[in-house]
């Protein structure tokens, strides 16, 4: 009975989201700009929540509380710093400039923007290729999260692969039908939903254990080190490199980066920017503190399980636990549908059209996009079945890969002297080095290269510095190519 109820709540939620997508589909036009960017017509509330919901995924909803449970509540500060503050500042530095030149020149993807500026199809394809490469583990992360969520909710009756398959099927269906308008609308629903549900969850659990003071007291009794800031996993190196690589990585995430193009007006972008830190705090505080408080609760968290569903199963009624899982599924879907949609725009516009068939009709391109989405999601699903790491590990790998794009892009946006060769060197070399580090931990052939050095400093941070240095250095010693046009990125005062 309870099992049926729980599954009913989750599936019911998915159906509501799908219905909303179908309504959006009905008001959509059949142009690429509408499908990928909702014709640049997104207002403040929807922009705020679509960015919010897109950004927050299985990584936040399950990975975050898990880490807080295992290592202490400092994760709140790490994520708050990178998402709430650093990302907001980058939103201004990268996002606004992209919006200005994007709406003037009609860009849809990051690769398109850079390719046009430097007059290079190769650079365009390189950016798209790198983005799709790192998008893959992140889509996989959502499927892993959904699989684990349903196992936790149903006590193992629904197997891990079943949960992962459910979300995969749903995502494919959704993205191939709805386009960005549908994604943005459901994101708004999903963002509001997860925000309210996580507060109700915190209130419910806290009232059951006797309030905030009692929960913190029990946590400190079980893990005294959780009370003081820093220590253990949280070395300054870990905090700084995680915050920097993730925040910069996020801005280069296709689905987030494309959000920089969709705002209706500058005022929309600005309002969202100012509200951002508060919104981030409102979600992270209850979610991560629940994870940390769980350390003091008399619960058993099985190996490989997520802590949040275990806590809820203990302290909240089954239907409510199911609602929270639905909220978490919402977080994962709202991220992965956007990822797949952005991924398909990168694939069709930056790889397929320029390299394979320049004269493809809109209709053909639309089909290629949809087939691409289905293939990509299915491959990620298969990979997710192998569970190559924890949610945080898989997520962090993807973030760092994207972060290596950020400095060359900032150079291109602000420094007219940047050359094509500088861009290619600044992107390709650090990417190759980082890929080697990541692959060395998976492939048995080569000795494992360390991911962190000197007590928690991420290798990716060093590679970010390298990418910036290479872009600037190589640009200084090479001449701009005739096809490049720095004025494409000039901001006009109107």
């Amino acid at each position: 009975m309870t099992l049926g109820l729980s599954l009913g709540v989750v599936v019911g939620y998915l159906v509501v989201a799908l219905a909303l997508g179908l309504i959006a589909y009905r008001v959509s036009e059949t142009t690429a700009e509408d499908y990928y960017l909702a014709s640049r017509s997104i207002g403040t509330l929807v922009l705020l929540f679509t960015t919010f919901a897109t950004l927050l995924s299985a990584f936040t909803f399950f990975g975050g509380p898990n880490l807080a449970y295992a290592a202490g509540p400092e994760w709140l500060v790490v994520m708050g710093t990178l998402d709430g503050v650093l990302f907001a500042v980058l939103w201004y530095v990268i996002g606004y400039k992209q919006w200005l030149i994007g709406s003037r020149n009609g860009y849809v993807t990051l690769g398109e923007m850079l390719g046009d500026r430097f007059g290079s199809t190769g650079l365009r394809a390189l950016v798209a290729g790198v983005s799709l490469l790192w998008l893959f583990p992140y889509v996989m992360l959502q499927q892993m999260g959904a699989g684990e969520a349903l196992v936790g909710l149903t006590d193992g009756v629904v197997p891990y692969w079943g949960g992962a398959a459910l979300i995969t099927a749903f995502m494919i269906l959704y993205v191939t039908v709805a386009g960005l308008r549908g994604v943005a609308w459901t994101d708004t629903l999903q963002g509001l939903f997860m925000l309210s549900i996580v507060w109700v969850a915190a209130a419910w659990v806290l009232s059951a254990v006797g309030g905030v003071g009692a929960a913190t007291g029990a946590m400190l009794e079980a893990r005294p080190e959780f009370g003081s800031f820093g220590g253990g996993t949280y070395t300054p190196g870990f905090i700084i490199s995680t915050a920097i690589t993730i925040a910069f990585g996020v801005t280069m995430f296709p689905q987030i980066n494309q959000r920089f193009f969709v705002a209706k007006s500058a005022a929309t972008l600005k309002r969202s920017f100012a509200l951002w830190p508060v919104l981030v705090l409102l979600l992270f505080l209850p979610a991560f503190m629940l994870g940390a408080w769980a350390a003091g609760m008399p619960i058993e968290v099985p190996e490989g399980a997520n802590v949040l569903p275990v806590v809820l199963n203990e302290y909240a009624p089954a239907w409510f636990a199911a609602l929270v899982i639905a909220g978490a599924m919402a977080a994962m879907m709202s991220s992965s549908d956007s990822m797949l949609l952005s991924g398909s725009s990168y694939f069709t516009r930056d790889l397929y059209r320029p390299l394979v068939d320049a004269d493809a009709s809109e209709r053909r391109e639309a089909w290629i996009a949809r087939i691409g989405v289905a293939a990509f999601a299915t491959l990620a699903f298969v990979a997710s079945l192998f569970r190559p790491g924890t949610l945080i590990e898989v997520g962090d790998t993807a973030f760092s890969g994207f972060a290596l794009l950020a400095l060359p892009v900032i150079c291109a946006l602000y420094w007219p002297r940047t050359t094509r060769t500088g861009m290619v060197a600044g992107i390709a070399v650090p990417q190759a080095a980082y890929l080697l580090v990541v692959l060395s931990s998976v492939l048995p052939l080569v000795p494992t290269l360390p991911r962190t050095v000197f007590g928690g400093w991420d290798v990716a941070l060093g590679l970010m510095v390298l990418s910036g240095a290479l872009t600037v250095g190589v640009s200084l010693v090479t001449a701009p190519t005739a096809d490049g046009d720095a004025s494409r990125f000039a901001v006009v005062s109107d």
Partner: protein
């Protein structure tokens, strides 16, 4: 021109906001205040401060001037957006 020079204040302001979103001065401090470790309160207050200063930044017009859009910045100062 003087407006642009005063806009430069935002650079150290943003740097400070980013740097101290992590409560470094409370490293190792374990006092509990109102049910939560005191460094969590620091972080909560800090993000509130960030939102406040961000909206001041938006309203000041420095955003547009920083991007080289003098005209839009002036319009913003005069008309308070659109």
């Amino acid at each position: 021109m003087t407006r642009s020079r005063s806009d430069l204040v935002w650079i150290p302001t943003f740097a400070t906001l980013v740097a101290f979103a992590v409560p470094w001065p409370l490293w190792g401090v374990d006092r509990v205040v109102a049910g939560l470790p005191v460094w969590i309160w620091w972080h909560v207050a800090w993000l509130g401060l960030c939102a406040t200063l961000f909206s001041l930044f938006v309203r000041s017009g420095a955003w547009e001037r920083g991007m080289g859009r003098e005209g839009a910045a002036a319009a913003e100062r005069g008309g308070g957006g659109r």
